[in-house]
């Protein structure tokens, strides 16, 4: 505490000390000193009282703060649990967009360039007739789960499941640009076709004797995408003629086929091989729609395909289409380390 604050008291003490040393402390001086001491004692008592009161108040506030923190922590845990549960009802991109505050949760839509994907299981109605309800549920969920993993790993926004059908799109809420979005969508469709073949082996072990075969339809174009519905119940989806066309391509696709529109073909022709297919007539389109069947990834473009390996001790995901310069440097730096790891693990 500053000396200035006790200037009066110090002056009184100095004076008393001086008089005492000079042996001239008379009654008047003594009474003055006594009065000063009484005043200080009174102030000290009040200061102690005030200090204790402040301490008690701080303790109370601290206790309340601890209780409040505990309540908040409990509520946060509940919210986290709830948001994890909610996230399963939403596409990761939509979930991220909403929970990061990038998107407003309100009725409203925008016009955006999307690549829209539809798929379903060929003759699924017939398959369901042959399966017990429990087996049907297990196999359908296993199928949808595997397809969702493929879709999410390629960055798709899963719009909805309609029974065995899947609707997904690329271009909102995040986009890599129309061309990359379209390439990713076609890559995803081919991956799904491959995945179904592997899944059929598992399903067969479960007792599903008739294999699943899927057909996929893809179209790219301007769609209306956003939240539709009422203020109380919203559905984040894409609508419009281009969406209808993607659905129509899917229903026109053959077994195990990925059928795409001319627009999608033009966006992805550097990356895939196609064969022209029959023109189709779609409501809302004046001219017949040219269609193309994706046959495979172009050999020369293999290098631009996703590197995706996941097994015990290995978790690798590289997407050359979106690889930044920094990421490329990191990969170069990692190569010697990887060689060391291989040599070391071989010795072991």
């Amino acid at each position: 505490m500053s000396g200035g604050l006790f200037k009066q008291e110090e002056a009184l003490l100095d004076n008393a000390k001086e008089l005492a040393e000079a042996n001239s402390l008379d009654t008047e001086q003594y009474l003055l000193l006594l009065k000063g001491y009484e005043k200080l004692l009174k102030q000290t008592r009040r200061l102690v009282k005030m200090s204790d009161r402040t301490e008690a108040q701080l303790n109370l506030m601290s206790k309340e703060q601890v209780e409040l923190n505990q309540t908040l922590s409990g509520q946060n845990t509940k919210l986290e649990t709830l948001s994890v549960k909610l996230s399963k009802y939403l596409s990761p991109q939509v979930y991220e967009s909403i929970f990061s505050g990038k998107s407003e949760v309100r009725v409203g839509a925008d016009r955006k360039f999307l690549t829209v994907f539809f798929s379903d299981i060929v003759s699924f109605t017939e398959i369901t007739d042959q399966l017990e309800p429990e087996m049907l549920t297990n196999s359908l969920n296993a199928y949808l789960n595997e397809m969702a993993i493929v879709a999410i790993s390629h960055g798709a926004t899963i719009d909805k499941y309609i029974g065995d059908a899947i609707m997904a799109f690329f271009g909102d809420p995040e986009t890599l640009g129309p061309q990359h979005d379209a390439v990713k969508c076609v890559t995803m469709a081919l991956s799904m076709q491959e995945k179904v073949k592997l899944l059929n082996y598992e399903l067969n072990k479960m007792g599903v004797t008739r294999p699943f075969n899927i057909r996929c339809g893809i179209n790219s174009g301007i769609c209306t995408v956003g939240n539709f519905g009422s203020e109380n119940r919203l559905d984040y989806t894409a609508i419009g003629n281009q969406v209808n066309l993607a659905s129509r391509l899917e229903s026109s696709a053959g077994v195990g086929e990925v059928l795409i529109s001319e627009e999608t073909m033009l966006l992805t022709q550097e990356h895939f091989d196609f064969v022209p297919n029959q023109e189709i007539h779609v409501k809302g389109f004046a001219r017949p729609i040219k269609t193309y069947t994706v046959t495979k990834l172009k050999e020369a473009k293999d290098l631009s395909a996703n590197l995706s390996f996941h097994s015990k001790g290995l978790d690798l995901e590289i997407d050359p289409l979106v690889l930044s310069e920094d990421s490329k440097k990191i990969i170069q730096e990692l190569i010697p380390q990887l060689e060391n790891i291989i040599q070391h693990s071989t010795k072991n």
């Binding site: 505490m1 500053s2 604050l5 200061l47 005030m50 009161r53 402040t54």
Partner: protein, 119 residues
């Protein structure tokens, strides 16, 4: 004198016949804060016949409490000399701490007109 409030000191306004203080008081340097106020207060009290003080504090620390003891002592001594001194200690109805502090200071006020005002 008009001192703007900071996060550690109250707003202070001193004119020829009025002193107002409002806010929180726990300055880093209590002497630097208190001395100019006490000096100017003494000057104004010496020159006036009547003086009004309004204090509305939300928090003050122990050093500031010592300053207020001296502050009220000056006012009481001036009132004892025959000048009209009125003091309002204003506190929020929910703030028991400031109410009790006001009651503590009131104990020393025998001549000056000291009022506790709930706001």
């Amino acid at each position: 004198m008009h001192l703007e409030a900071t996060n550690r000191t109250p707003e202070v306004l001193i004119s020829d016949s009025v002193l107002e203080m409002k806010g929180e008081c726990y300055p880093e340097d209590i002497t630097a804060f208190a001395e100019p106020i006490l000096e100017l207060l003494a000057e104004k009290l010496a020159a006036c016949d009547s003086f009004s003080v309004s204090l509305e504090l939300r928090y003050f620390n122990s050093s500031s409490a010592k300053f207020f003891f001296d502050f009220f002592e000056v006012l009481e001594e001036t009132a004892a000399k025959g000048k009209s001194i009125s003091i309002q200690w204003r506190y929020r109805s929910s703030d028991n701490s400031m109410k009790e502090a006001g009651e503590d200071f009131e104990e020393d006020m025998e001549v000056a007109d000291y009022q506790l005002v709930e706001i």
